[in-house]
Amino acid sequence: GAGVSQSPRYKVAKRGQDVALRCDPISGHVSLFWYQQALGQGPEFLTYFQNEAQLDKSGLPSDRFFAERPEGSVSTLKIQRTQQEDSAVYLCASSLARGTQGQPQHFGDGTRLSIL
């Protein structure tokens, strides 16, 4: 597709359940970022992939969060044993070049996660 695609758009889960969020970046984009956006806040960095390599996961809030991009295209963010504080919009972004080269990041519409 023309842009970054995320699915599902909305996800409701009960506390303690596991969830998986998918990101389809723009074809050919090397860099892929995940961000978490709490209500009324700016996005906060979670993790970064360059192709299939996860080069930075310093923003993941706990070991319940796990991300992968096994073939260097589609990425999945998994949250295990969800907690209410995990409720947020999860944004995926991709860019053509390596992240340090200052290329703009192109964002998907996000997945709004609500934990009951």
Partner: protein, 117 residues
Amino acid sequence: AQSVAQPEDQVNVAEGNPLTVKCTYSVSGNPYLFWYVQYPNRGLQFLLKYITGDNLVKGSYGFEAEFNKSQTSFHLKKPSALVSDSALYFCAVRDMSYGGSQGNLIFGKGTKLSVKP
């Protein structure tokens, strides 16, 4: 610590008037600066960036931003606001911190722009 500040939660402007959305930053070294816009229930759309060169950067939809190194500011401007410009605007800077930065962005908390007819 690196950071971005957007001092105004909301900016109200009449249609046809000029608008300014303020942003200041704190980074080590030369900054890479970005503006994004977010419409309800949508992701962020790239407006413009400053990497190097002219201090006045022109972007999408008639927006521009002025980089001011001495004031560490990167204010977003538009000469004549449209009602359709009403949205949430985010300023961001590339994370330059050692030991983990791979180009991720540090965002401000956002400024809601409201343009009235």
